[in-house]
Symmetry: C2
Subunit: 438 residues, 2 copies
């Protein structure tokens, strides 16, 4: 029985500083739950001035360093907490910590999604644990749920609103009818978007989270390159308004993973969601994740998907769970992640997936247009559920919008049809295609 | 390393039979996740004829018995799965299994809620585990979330729609405007209510689940007798309709636990919920649980709260999680439940809690009535937010309904006021008081 668990924290940014705060605040509760004491041996950040923000009174035995090697090489550290973000250095920290027989807690979705195989093969070989609850949905305990609480299920579906930045922007666009650019600026001003928001708005962050959830759910390495990924930066306010006003849908950026006959369908894209579905009321920085299992049925998790404290909730819960096992020296004897490096995963091409779609054509205002378009759709076996032709609006000086919702159709079919339609001279700009998910 | 985990299943009812089905169906997945094989040594039920429903082909080495003592005394059983329901025998099975050094998986909320201290003290002493994910919210992994995924948080609030039967009845009353009695009959016909539904409709089942969640969240034994408990059998269709039509609220049976200055406020009662709150759309047999933690903020879990397969999802996930530890002989070295038998819990009396309320008075149709009622409310410092006086409806031949919503008030104050008002000769029947929660 070990009576004191030694922690090495690397990264004193938004999450790291809140991890310190939370452990300070709830120390009694935390140590009671662990059944042992915890203590920081090292606090590391590349910016020395961040140490000034810490009340050194409370961290008397802590060594402050700007060199992470000191932390991972120390024999005085049981658990390395990697919270620096980014890719290369974070990856090195995780892998080298494992090599040096440390357990790891991380919030780094990019590194996990891109290096699943390497990290969890090494963790298994070294009999060490890597916990990463904060990497998806911040404070929502979804990793553990998938890994353990729902372990008996064959999961068929994972659908998530996984990125707080995008959801904040889309909420703003939906409720205030502002353009993407304005909504993004507002998000940046309020701290909901980073100065360089490209990973969020292009869907890459959602993709990473989807890959992590899928890797756990299906126990295999996911090839990131196979995921269809479309962000929200090209999304037009018109489509948000049309979807809402004419068809009772809201638009959200979703990560979608489905297993159909052992093939995985993986997509990140803005989708239409019925106003009646619980996901439609998930606003601002909130996240929601829907899972469907063969025994549990549909389960939804909802909570704050971003922010220092929600992420710290997950990091510190990981620390508790891990420390309990470190204390009695059982940590790592069972791998946390069920992962078979030899499993082969087949993927479904985006064109072979099925769905209903929202389509907006922009055409000249002439007779026969609708017949030409619907003729081509029919030829490609795309069946139309409803059509809505708006009168020419001022902002459509260059064309008339024609809105359509389709019945269930193969995505390849509708894409082929649109390619053909977009070549017609009656079409004034690129047709918009959005998937309807609920 | 143990290569085969031996299970003894006691109880072949709705849940037990689905546990067998699920393990049969997902055996490969389950054994891969455990890293060892699982096998039933015993299947036990007091009704012999239930064994005929099992395809014996698949259970060649299994001993079928009507005597549970055989199971818990066998050296060939690692985990006893108690799924018989009820109280006395189930309690004996759980305690005796622990005494005989077996781990236990159970779905029995009544036994857990009423014997928390005894069960978890014994489990700790014997270094054995009792898992019970299925006891609350069926397939929703809420026990594990509270116990581990959110362990870093000081939980301030737990609010849940925890009983599928009541929620089915209330959904029926709300959407179809039928009386409680008719809705109950329909629920029984469809299998959503038992022939003897008294535990459900009086709120006892919700109370048991609330006690379990509170015991985990606050690490102490909860005195069941301190919980204010009001069921739904006295709920009138009129109040459901008035709340919905006049004030935009739906009525749900809620379990509410709040920690205010180290005192616990525990209530089970029908409450008004704004149509805008996610809980308002939790219908039929679905459950939802809201937790508020100091770091994670508000988190909501939603899913099927009843049924054989959802419960089996939780039972089998428990079996997996437990078996992984049995396989490497670490099970029980860390207690699953953080429970301090010496902790003292203080409780807040219902009259000292604060809330906003819906009140329906039924009075004679005379001038001065409203002034008399509001005078008494004012004297008790109950502040009225809105008043709605309906014209006399046919069903109110014996009085006129006056509806009020209050501002935040102490429950004792409004109860005292109502007691005084109900003694007036202008009041024709007992005043209805319902709490507004969201």
């Amino acid at each position: 029985m070990k009576h004191k668990i030694k922690l090495g924290l690397i990264g004193l940014g938004t999450v790291g500083s809140k991890v310190l705060d939370l452990i300070f605040k709830n120390k009694d509760l935390i140590e009671r739950k662990i059944g042992a004491l915890i203590e920081f041996s090292y606090i590391c950040d590349r910016y020395k001035n961040r140490f000034n923000l810490i009340n050194k009174m409370f961290y008397k035995n802590v060594r402050f360093t700007t060199d992470y090697q000191e932390v991972i090489n120390s024999s005085d550290v049981d658990i390395v907490i990697e919270l620096i973000g980014g890719r290369n250095v974070a990856k090195k920290i995780i892998l080298e910590s494992l090599e040096k027989n440390k357990h790891v807690v991380t919030a780094n979705k990019a590194v996990l999604a891109e290096n699943w195989d390497e990290i969890f093969s090494l963790a298994r070989r070294k009999q060490k644990l890597v916990y990463f609850e904060a990497s998806v949905g911040a404070g929502i305990p979804i990793i553990q749920a998938l890994n353990e609480g729902l372990a008996a299920n064959n999961i068929s579906t994972i659908i998530g609103i996984l990125n707080g930045t995008c959801n904040y922007i889309l909420t703003k666009m939906t409720t205030e009818h502002v353009s993407f650019d304005l909504a993004l600026k507002e998000a940046q001003r309020k701290g909901f978007a980073e100065t360089n928001p490209v990973f969020d708005i292009r869907g890459i962050d959602t993709l990473h989270k989807l890959v992590i959830l899928s890797s756990i759910a299906w126990g295999s390495k996911i090839d990131i390159g196979t995921v269809y990924c479309e962000g929200i930066s090209n999304l037009k306010i018109d489509d948000i308004i049309f979807a809402y006003d004419e068809f009772d849908y809201v638009i959200k950026l979703l990560g979608i993973a489905r297993r159909v006959n052992n093939e995985l369908e993986l997509q990140v894209r803005p989708c239409l969601i019925s106003k009646k579905h619980p996901f439609s009321s998930v606003e601002n920085e909130y996240n929601a994740i829907l899972l469907n299992g063969d025994a549990c049925g549909e389960i939804i998790f909802y909570g704050k998907g971003a922010g220092g404290y929600p992420a710290a909730s997950a990091v510190v819960s990981d620390i508790i769970f891990l420390s309990r096992q470190v204390a009695i020296d059982t940590a790592g004897r069972i791998p946390y992640v069920n992962y078979d490096p030899d499993s082969k995963q087949d993927y479904l091409d985006i064109n072979d997936t099925y769905g209903c779609y929202y389509v907006r054509f922009t055409t000249v205002d002439k007779p026969g247009v609708l017949s030409q378009i619907s003729g081509i759709l029919g030829k490609h076996k795309v069946s139309i559920a409803s059509v809505y032709q708006k009168e020419q609006l001022s902002r459509y000086r260059r064309g008339v919008p024609i809105l359509m919702l389709t019945h269930l159709t193969r995505e390849g079919a509708i894409r082929n049809a649109i390619n053909e339609i977009d070549k017609l001279s009656i079409v004034k700009s690129k047709t918009v295609l959005l998937k309807i998910i609920f």
